[in-house]
Symmetry: C2
Subunit: 369 residues, 2 copies
């Protein structure tokens, strides 16, 4: 992905302590607050490859900078896939040359990009929004790849947002960090944080709006739309989790602290037991409540409530009567919610997840490195 | 299970904040340091059933105490199974009467007990050891049920150890807590901590050894054998995890703190990705190292090493050459180890786990509460 001029840029990276050189190099490059080219390769994460791996990633930046006459520090790199193997650099160089040749402004080329970054994803993930800022029309267009394994080796999320908004690096960074925290960082398919997760936003400034340089109405509107784009991608990623047949939003309210809300949400979505019940369309609230029970979150057993697909199944510490067959049918929809209220405070949190299926096991067991 | 006289007793219970009345009542009863009868029912945990559930559990104790002429406070109760349903008390009373009728000292009856407590377990889990203390022969005999779901609703571990050793409550408690910490609490099948987990030891004192009332050689030897019995049961439970085809011991050494060692072990065994690779006999060390990477444990990327089934796959931060086909064959054994050395200190920890299979998903998805 190449923009006609250096863009204001912001990015969020994996929190894993083990990272590939693509993350190391991109983290370093993004410090300038500028980027112009995004290079993505799938199938090989180039992680745990030492100095040679780092040199290979730097060589990619230099190669691209030479061919496109851009600053090599304005190139960001994303490599995902198998860990512990060197990049096949001859193939990568040919790939770079091919990609440079195919550069165009056509929608078809944008679709090619969104397709090319996919791995075990079953669907393309894109998002598009526009807003008016003064008389200028600002556009945001984005593509992502999801929690499919690459090779299959690692659940890796990549998300790329482009916009022609005119905005300072500090404001773009602020808006993007806030959006990523409440969208990409709320997706959990399998607990496992990749060594390559990367989300990037590039803002070219070509829309001609008055530069957004401080908080205020223009910032708020732009940040809101940026959030919506990221949220749209995050939901598409969760819905297309490996082997998934449905997307579930798990929300915990009434927590005594943000940390409690987070802990309760994670206990629910990290339990293979709850996610198997989701798969079986089984309104098994016992698994949900017991997960909250070992989460460490504060709650009083007489005040906790749970709703599955808008139906109370447990209220103020007591089981509810409900029609299990009717509720099970609702749980067969492609999207539904689990809501747990702890009755202990005013904080809340949520997570997008999917069901755990035999398909997931098949994808991730029957493969040899 | 009934002993001919009140025994010195110790127990360990689930750390889940949501517990069934069986745990509430047994926790209260064990405070006396004495117990004589153990009542177990499967299929219904009686959890989240409010005051009526609590009264039902107390009624069971009273019923048993009446029939056997024992102190009701010397009855311990374990109920596992579905959450949120009242116990069918007529059926329970008939069960108690039946069980009382069948009481005998025969090995056949002991086997009946070990069989009766099983749920989705595929194998009976028992252990037997003897040791000499002075001229006395001390016997330990134990039975457990494992991380199979009940109903299937909850991975619940129950373990019961009996011995004729003569030992004070304080020393028995000390030995049992220590044994449980390094055995039962090191089993992870699916992250999910039950609301009913209970481990109990009863010591009748009938062996006639000099009472163990302080630390010293006799205590050390008894505690060692008690640990071995619990370890034997814990390994049997992990090996018979739902859908499991193999048992894996994950060990982390060289950690900077006990908390770091624990965090690294849990990240590895809680990842469905690593456990799918175990199932596929795939020596996919990238999943293991990346799990350590997000565990929060301290390590230097150039010092971390990993062995799978006694084969170095990653050493001092570098991938090793190994014959993947040979190693994969070793991983098809029923038991093997994963070893990660963080190279950051002198602490270590371990966990017994099993592979994640389509069988697990099947057992836990296709069931309706």
């Amino acid at each position: 992905m190449v923009v006609s001029r250096p863009c204001t840029a912001a990015a969020a990276f994996t929190t894993n302590k083990v990272v590939g050189p693509a993350v190391t190099v991109s983290r370093e490059h993004i410090r300038s607050g500028k980027a112009q080219v995004l290079f993505v390769n799938a199938g090989n994460a180039n992680t745990c490859t030492g100095r040679r791996g780092l040199r290979d990633t730097q060589a990619i930046c230099d190669d691209i900078a030479g061919q496109l006459a851009v600053n090599p520090r304005h190139v960001l790199v994303c490599s995902t896939g198998i860990i512990g193997h060197f990049l096949p650099m001859d193939k990568v160089r040919r790939g770079v040359a091919d990609a440079v040749e195919q550069l165009s402004r056509s929608p078809r080329t944008a679709t090619n990009f969104a397709q090319a970054i996919l791995t075990t994803d079953t669907r393309m993930k894109t998002s598009f929004r526009q807003l008016k800022l003064g008389s200028a029309t600002v556009t945001l267009a984005a593509a992502a790849k999801g929690s499919g394994m690459i090779a299959p080796n690692m659940a890796t999320m990549l998300a790329f947002v482009t916009t022609d908004a005119c905005i300072t690096p500090a404001m773009l960074n602020r808006a993007f960090k806030s959006a990523a925290t409440s969208t990409f960082n709320k997706v959990s398919v399998d607990t496992h944080t990749s060594t390559s997760d990367t989300a990037v936003v590039l803002a070219s400034g070509l829309a001609g709006n008055a530069t957004i340089s401080k908080t205020g109405p223009a910032y708020t509107r732009f940040a809101g739309v940026l959030h919506n784009v990221c949220d749209d991608l995050a939901r598409q990623i969760a819905a297309d989790g490996e082997g998934a047949t449905c997307m579930i939003t798990v929300r915990v309210t009434g927590a005594a602290s943000p940390a409690d809300a987070h802990a309760a949400v994670r206990a629910i979505v990290d339990s293979p037991l709850t996610r198997c019940a989701f798969h079986g369309a089984d309104p098994n609230w016992g698994r949900i409540i017991s997960a909250v029970g070992y989460s460490g979150a504060k709650f009083h057993p007489d005040k906790i409530s749970c709703k599955i697909a808008d139906t109370f199944v447990f209220r103020a510490g007591r089981p509810c009567r409900f029609d299990a067959a009717v509720l099970s049918r609702k749980m067969k929809a492609r999207e539904w919610d689990v809501l747990v209220d702890l009755g202990a405070g005013r904080f809340e949190d949520f997570c997008y997840t999917c069901d755990l299926t035999a398909g997931y096991v098949k994808i991730n067991a029957h493969y040899h490195t």
